[in-house]
Amino acid sequence: MSAMANSYPQATWRLPDRGKVAMAGLIIAESAIFTIFVVAYLFYVGKSLSGPTPREVLETPIFYTICLLSSSLTIHFAAKSLARERVGAFVCLWLLTIALGGLFLYGTAQEWHRLIYEHGLTISTNLFGTTYYSLVGLHGFHVTAGLIMLLIVAIFALAGRVRAEQSRRVEVLAMYWHFVDAVWVVVFTVVYVLGR
């Protein structure tokens, strides 16, 4: 390749970070999956042949929504702190993110418990049950997967193994977490605002 070698200044050759590109790809793919579930939810709004209906049983989870959305802020500042080598701040904000995510999951669990035991709504009760548990459950599954990944990083961080040079990887994980939060905005709008 020597004939070609001297024609290009190699130092100026910059390419995007592969971790971020791959996470962007995953987010696009996941968005398509969620789109299909959202379409199914909206298509079946009001088409259940029997009760209970969303208007009768759903309560808007405002507190837990605030928890999840603010965890986007904490993870953003956690990643930023790590990039600036402030590891202590990173660990605190990271653990706070996990706590907020965990609180959100607890909220979902409580809501499901109430729906199942007080209102008798399960996934097989009617179309509302099928679409509601599928859509909210799919999101909850993504929150759980995210929490597991956050926990793994937290374990390494508490063991003192996460330093500034890992901040790009942490940012990739933060992208995923932002995505999970953004999806909740859509799910919240569809289920608790439009769907009633």
């Binding site: 791959a22 299909i36 579930f37």
Partner: protein
Amino acid sequence: MSSNAITVPGVQIDEKPWVDTLHEWVTTVDHKRLGILYMLTALVFVVLGGVEALIIRIQLMHSHNDFVSPEVFNRMFTMHGTTMIFFVAMPVLFGFANYLVPLMIGARDMAFPRLNAFSFWLTAFGGLLLYFSFLGGSGLYGAGNAPDVGWWAYAPLTARAFSPGHSSDYWTVALLVSGFGSIGTGINIIATILCMRCPGMRLGRMPLLAWLNLVMSAMVLIAVTPLSAAQIMLLVDRYLGGHFFDAQAGGSAVLWMHFFWIFGHPEVYILIIPCFAFLSEIIPVFSRKPIFGYPVMVAATVCIAFVSMSVWAHHMFTVGMNSYANSFFTITTMAVGVPTGIKIFNWLGTMWGGKILFKVPMLFSIGFLFQFLIAGLTGIMLASSPFDWQLGLSYFVVAHFHYVIVGGILFALFAAVYYWYPKMTGRMLSERLGKWHFWLFLIGFHLTFDLMHIPGILGMPRRIYTYEPGRGWDTLNLLITVGTFVQVLAILLFLANLVISYFKGDRAGNDPWDAWTLEWSISSPPPAYNFASIPVVASRRPLWDLKHPEDPDSRYE
């Protein structure tokens, strides 16, 4: 096992025991080996899918035939369709992408080698799962074994009441698993192309093969995922008592059709775009001219990808939609023919005034051009919804899409195999056997699929296991089946060529076709690390620049 060592005077080469070689292949993360594994997997499944096609054709050879029962016939066309799309076409195209993309953009491997291996094994085990249904599908109920719901698996056929046992579950889970594999590979190809290019390889200088695979991978992310979502819903219905597609509880069977075809139609383009990519590399080399209209080619591809996302319901004209939907999908379907036509003109423009070498890869490419054009024309016919009401779900449609898949995709794949086999093995495929293969396959193909249009026009519906005599279908069906056997003969010659040439073919050397892209700059087969030093490129044809320093392309781009 060192006793296996062979001694050559002066040199000692340790021959590895076969267990070690097998272990290396199973645990490999090398993109070239994974590419070959993808292709070998596809080769196994193409034989299985081919046998199923033969069973279908033998059954339909004459009226009132009882070669197989109606139940077995249903399983055969379901498994044939599912196998050929998900476990032949997808893996072999991913195999080529895996093998060629890093070599062509001057990279040492894919962006995520372990994800690559993971994706391959998901695909391979997805296929195994599908075929395990022959053993495990009847479950506890003593019902039928392999899936028999058609490759669309329309609701309510897949409901528990109509599909007891596990056959539909094997179908669902196999496609879900291989779908995750496809998404992994799609992400990997995108990350490789965007982040692993060698210095100087700007997007506008990439070989068209890399460009088209980038577009294909983006489509995989958007189009395969709706199928995964629909499969999850189907599992919820079958296992958790959900009602997504359960019309008795207010669910909609038509919603499944939409979800399936939102995947199903872009899927056709996911399969054909890599074939366009092969053509865009092969035709210039055998016309001894650079590709005509490189930027237009890229733009047309992106345009096809974009438009093809909004054509899906042309598969549903016969289901009954309102006239607005019918008009919309008729117009978009016809519109997608425009960028496709541009591509055909570009390939013809590349050949125009070129010094055409009629080697086997070029023969298959020219066959592709003619057949893909005809397939496109019958596609335009079917895009017109009133015409589709008449011929939808008939053998005319079967003939149309086999013209695309066999006459288009398979011909392009044969061209690609003849073109890159020397790079992968270091040996040339036999030209003589190759020409026999080409002509026999061409004759068999046209005998089968040209004639198949006619029983469709005469009213023969698809998916019937037999028919009455005296409708004018008998002779045609017999000839179609004869054509199938001619194709089988050609495929056997091809397989023989693959094996014989591997041991006895002429040595290929680095660059047997005097080509211009980076993969031909290194030895055949390439070393594990691909490039000893990462190349630096200054134009779209780096090897031309290297061979013609007095008149490099970089002067004009």
